[in-house]
């Protein structure tokens, strides 16, 4: 029984390591900026997830207590990783793209990153009906 559990912990660690390496390799291999952003966000999910699972399993199986704060690490990662990715994507849109190179913004005029104070004023004026004298 102990051996099986040990194998399981090792398997989780190895899988996590593989996904971590693939994530880092993706950073070198992928050839455009936006695609490169995909690689690290992936390493955080399964790469870190595997280590945390292994840690919880190890605590429960060999150290005779249940450990939960790994769940918190997962939660905080899931809260922060999309935000950093989003900010890097926004920087890319700011520096490399213009309104014309971007795809259509659904029914709206443009994407929020390209918004200017003039746009905001225009929207505001459209929403509030003109005052009557």
């Amino acid at each position: 029984m102990e051996t099986i559990l040990e194998f399981l912990v090792a398997a989780f660690l190895v899988t996590a390591g593989i996904f971590g390496i693939v994530g880092s390799y993706g950073l070198i291999k992928l050839n455009d900026q936006m695609s490169r952003l995909h690689a690290p966000t992936k390493a955080t999910t399964l790469g870190v997830g595997g280590v945390l699972l292994a840690s919880m399993l190890h605590a429960a199986a060999f150290e005779k207590y249940f450990s939960y704060h790994e769940l918190m690490i997962t939660l905080f990662l899931f809260l922060t990783a999309p935000i950093t990715a989003n900010f890097i994507a926004k920087v890319h849109i700011h520096r490399e793209e213009t309104r014309d190179t971007m795809p259509e913004a659904g029914g709206d005029d443009h994407w929020a990153t390209h918004d200017t104070p003039e746009d905001e004023e225009r929207r505001h004026a459209a929403q509030t009906p003109p005052e009557e004298d």
Binding site: S35, K42, F78
Partner: protein, 165 residues
Amino acid sequence: MKLIWRLFPHPFLTLLLTLTWLLMVNRWSLNSLVFGFLLGVVIPFVTQPYWPNRPNLRRPLKIAEYILVVLMDIIQANIIVARIVLFKPNADRRPNWITIPLELKTPEAITALAGTITMTPGTLSADVSDEGHALLVHCLDAPNPDAVRDEIKQRYERRLMEIFE
């Protein structure tokens, strides 16, 4: 009744903070429960001006189902992305922007959808349109962008609609 709302402006946040504290302490004891609850009462009360509206959770139990679906997708899609990174030459890959028209209205729901899209590998939410009616998503490899869009709408947006609206 009014006094209770005053004291607990965000009951969900109170519950969540208590639970977070318990999990952080990592060992069950009455002490940490009481202290966690104390934090859960004080923090929402003090930060109340920043949260004028209470998010409207219509079916909180559906959240569990949603989390399970997303976790399964993350594992599956991680393998797909690893395959793309390792074996697909850059010339064959079709990176693509796709626009997802949004039916969700509340900012909480749209944030949850954007976060989900980023965490599920292969797609990355990059921007929202100026009036919040569309989401810009970048795909690592999407020969057929319409299929990706429909899948996101079907799998995630529909479920979030049930939870939030």
